[in-house]
Symmetry: C2
Amino acid sequence: MSKVNSASGALVIIGGAEDHTNERKILAEFVRLSGGGDASIVIITVASEAQSEVGSRYTEVFTQLGVREVRALNINKRGDANARAAVEMIEKATGIFFTGGNQLRITMLLGGTKVDTALHRRNEQGLVLAGTSAGAAMMSTVMITGGKSDTAFRIGIVELSPGMGFIGGVLIDQHFEERGRLRRLLLAVAQYPQEIGLGLDENTAVVVRDQELEVLGQGSLTVIDAGGMSYTNLASLKKDDILTLCGVKIHILSEGYRFDLRNREPLIEADSEVKKAKEAKRG
Amino acid sequence: MSKVNSASGALVIIGGAEDHTNERKILAEFVRLSGGGDASIVIITVASEAQSEVGSRYTEVFTQLGVREVRALNINKRGDANARAAVEMIEKATGIFFTGGNQLRITMLLGGTKVDTALHRRNEQGLVLAGTSAGAAMMSTVMITGGKSDTAFRIGIVELSPGMGFIGGVLIDQHFEERGRLRRLLLAVAQYPQEIGLGLDENTAVVVRDQELEVLGQGSLTVIDAGGMSYTNLASLKKDDILTLCGVKIHILSEGYRFDLRNREPLIEADSEVKKAKEAKRG
């Protein structure tokens, strides 16, 4: 399902609009995983059209969070992602942060470059990768690139494309509750029931390690598992017909809850640590 | 689960904003079930603050659909719903149409009155009952009366009240996709997993007969079945905590598809009539 193994660096996949100014829980966790004050963080702004502003903003936030070495890598053409200097930034980094924007800019400008190769190799050796919004969507092998969420549930409203492939077996959607994207993610997993749909609300993240997800932040993770789908009319749909699907399972998980991608199950029963942590916080 | 039996009149439960001017498929089906041109239709406008306008509008539509006997019953105080003339209108009717507005106005002004009693008795004998929006929500034994749908998924956002009880075992939400109400319906069924959640999009209806639903109209019916829910943190939630729930089943059904409330299952395999009807329409 995925080449991720226990030596791989964590992925921090963020549903967009993460807190930059208050508790900054998600960004602080990314910094902690990357080595804290000793981290070397590279911000990859390729998804954005306004790379230098976005880079400056995140540089400021990570600096405020105590990281001494923060650099932005702007990529405006594929040559930038094949440059020796860019690859060296990746080699030295302990944490990479992908900003939001357009996920197709990430794949078009980064896919198959030397930076891409270095990111995969270094992630397998422990490099932490984070991404928000478009930077979250592109993490998977297949990514959602478009599709209206509104009104009815018609064939063709969701567009899927090859992603950057840092995690397999999932389809990631972001701004999930805020933009009402349940039906587009349902349509996507109905087409590819082998993939598990992950819908991340804003200011909400999953930290992925060794095929286990843990939720962090203010909103919810919606997990859609169409593996047990008993019927869909998808194969016979014509354009503007409405999708029917039966027997799709969903889980909605809040902070501290975990999900096992291997067994497609939430990790609840054995999970006394979560409860303890929650009780401690409340105490 | 419900007293509905095979002699009972159909319920036509509409997700709001049904077409009044073009094909009028849903209202035409209600008219057909009520006896066509020979129907005697009573429009109950109690949910609305502007009863006479709403009554006139629906009178015009049903008249255009060929019904010769259409009357509006306005109820502004409980006495109106205990009046002999009002009860006589119900006795003579073959179809009742509840307009939209505020579902609490329906229960406050109609609950326990002679009109209420007559509606239940006559429905058991075959009287067809339709309702749109608030007129849909009130059909069930327990109804949703409020609760914000936006942002996160916090305890207390959904308000439930006793409904008019024309159908048991379900919780009905309307304007479902248009107002992004999935999470409020999930929260409601997480609290009452014995009830099946029915989310109706606008210009979409279910026709209920003998514990079977059939979808009609432009959008989808979302069925939420929390009967198999494996875990929820609902019991230990404090205000503003976020709900977690695992293993909830959903079905999304479009026009022509049916659902069996008794067995909590879509009726797909044996349902060759649906396919034939669809093929005939396309032919």
